[in-house]
């Protein structure tokens, strides 16, 4: 007997299928999504993502939210096929809530990481078929170790801890080098930066990625489109509002590009 605590297993028992491989028709470009980053700053972890979704050369959407809040203390930033990534986020969100409500305690941070690994592993057939690859970054607050942590994944589900930072998506090679440089030889390491300085850094990094990667969307001031930036600390997940990003971009970023 035994009481269920695994929502994903419950879905499977109800006939839900995930990660089924399918072949895209020849010449059909799939929608993908692009540059995401996370780094440790003074108070926790900052996670940021651009807003563009593309299909081949086509810009499909410029208001995509790639930094998804899974629960009060964790977010998943997505790069890859949004259809699969959003499905993963929905499964995770319900899984974490279901665990908390059935077991009357929060799922541990390690348990959350394992849940995402399991989804990625089940998604391997779709990822290798070329129709469902997702390469996420997972950030959450680990109450056992009293620290916000960063994990990144490959498409097979292997998880790696980002000691200082992690990047993913087509624009990530550009900013990975910058992050290494800033963190190693900058005036101060990323982990010492206060919130505002970290935010400026994230805006500059995403602007650099957009400069060299057509699949990464830059800031569109006319349309009022800014990246999504969230902070994960002991008190939970918080989103930096556009009203605060706008003046920072105008005074600390735009004059340099």
């Amino acid at each position: 007997m035994g009481m269920q605590s695994d929502f994903y297993q419950l879905l499977k028992e109800q006939g839900h299928v995930f990660g089924v491989p399918s072949q895209a028709p020849r010449g059909q470009e799939l929608t993908t999504a692009t540059t995401i980053l996370a780094f440790k700053y003074r108070d926790g972890v900052l996670v940021a993502g651009d807003r563009r979704a593309t299909a081949g050369n086509m810009v499909m959407y410029d208001r995509t939210d790639k930094v998804l809040e899974i629960d009060r203390h964790s977010v998943m930033a997505i790069a890859g096929v949004p259809a699969t990534a959003y499905e993963m986020a929905r499964i995770l969100e319900h899984s974490f809530k279901y665990f908390r409500r059935t077991q009357l305690q929060e799922l541990s941070f390690e348990g959350k990481l394992r849940a995402l690994s399991k989804l990625l592993k089940d998604n391997v057939p779709a990822a290798l078929a070329g129709t469902g690859a997702v390469v996420p970054i997972f950030v959450g607050y680990d109450f056992e170790q009293e620290a916000a942590k960063i994990y990144f994944y490959d498409i097979l589900g292997a998880e790696f801890e980002g000691a200082d930072y992690a990047v993913s998506g087509s624009g990530s090679p550009t900013i990975r080098g910058i992050l290494h440089y800033v963190n190693t030889w900058g005036e101060q390491p990323l982990s010492a930066m206060p919130e505002e300085q970290a935010t400026v850094q994230a805006l500059r990094l995403l602007t650099s990625a957009a400069e060299f990667d057509s699949a990464t969307g830059g800031v569109n001031r006319e349309a009022g489109l800014y990246p999504v930036i969230k902070f994960i600390t002991a008190s939970g997940v918080r989103t930096m509002p556009d009203a605060q990003l706008k003046p920072l971009f105008e005074t600390k970023v735009s004059r340099h590009v």
């Binding site: 269920q4 419950l10 809040e69 929905r90 319900h94 809530k97 279901y98 409500r101």
Partner: protein
């Protein structure tokens, strides 16, 4: 044995008597709406009786803990699968109770060869807008009722009416008002149940004195002080001011200390 209709009716009647007996010593549950959201309150001896079901749904229960757990899991399963397949807005208390829970409880009650669920359930639903909050209560036979301002569970409908009558005259504006009114209403119900129990056991002198009938605040607080010494005060809030989709939160000891009236302290929490 039960193939003849009147024997089946007799068997169901016996089952009703049996079930009524099971709730005699149960702790009442009180649910009230206030400006802050919906408050659920009870007192328990160890096993919790208030639970989060979904983003805007909470449950309070009386009865056998194993039956309550089974039905709680059924509710959680229905709510989460529905919320995943459709949307959180489609997970409503009315749908869960009318098309899921109540028919299952009724079926178990009427299948006289099987054990019934020894439960009474109160489901609270925080509305999208203030004034749209609601309650559903389900009895052990599957009958359910919808209510808006408040709802209670107790051993008998007579005790529930007494509690509702008291609650009707209380102010429920602020969270502190709601906590105060709920805990006093709980005392009204628990005292009435205890009195009925004593009368049933032939301890008439213990239950019919003027003090046992009184519902003035001082008498109720004195009674509550005795209860708090041996039980845990449980309060949960569907808080409309909480950010994010999940509105449920249990009130902790520190918060309860500031909210409980008349120097009551949740010492055992």
């Amino acid at each position: 044995m039960y193939e003849e209709p009147y024997k089946w009716v007799e068997a169901v009647g016996n089952r009703r008597t049996y079930l009524d007996e099971q709730f005699k010593e149960g702790a009442p549950v009180v649910g009230v709406t206030c400006e802050r959201g919906i408050l659920l309150m009870t007192m328990s001896k160890g096993t919790p009786k208030l639970y989060e079901i979904y983003d805007r749904l909470a449950l309070g229960g009386m009865g056998h803990p194993a039956d309550l757990e089974k039905l709680r899991f059924n509710l959680l399963e229905m709510a989460h699968v529905e919320g995943f397949n459709r949307s959180a807005s489609d997970v409503t208390g009315g749908r869960l109770v009318k098309y899921g829970m109540a028919p299952a409880i009724k079926q178990a009650f009427e299948e006289v060869f099987k054990a019934p669920f020894i439960v009474k359930i109160l489901l609270a639903e925080l509305g999208q807008k203030s004034g749209k909050d609601g309650f559903l209560t389900i009895n052990y036979d599957g009958t359910f009722e919808e209510k808006s301002q408040y709802a209670v569970l107790a051993a008998t409908s007579a005790v529930e009416q007494k509690m509702a009558g008291y609650l009707r005259e209380q102010s429920l504006a602020s969270l502190a008002d709601a906590v105060g009114a709920s805990i006093r209403t709980w005392a009204v119900g628990d005292r009435a149940q205890r009195r009925a129990l004593d009368e049933g056991e032939g301890h008439d002198e213990a239950g019919t004195g003027p003090d046992q009938q009184a519902t003035d605040s001082e008498t109720l607080y004195a009674y509550l002080r005795r209860c708090i010494a041996e039980k845990t005060v449980e309060c949960a809030l569907l808080d409309r001011h909480v950010q994010g989709p999940s509105k449920y939160r249990a009130l902790g000891v520190d918060e309860l200390k500031t909210l409980l009236p008349n120097g009551l302290s949740p010492s055992l929490l």
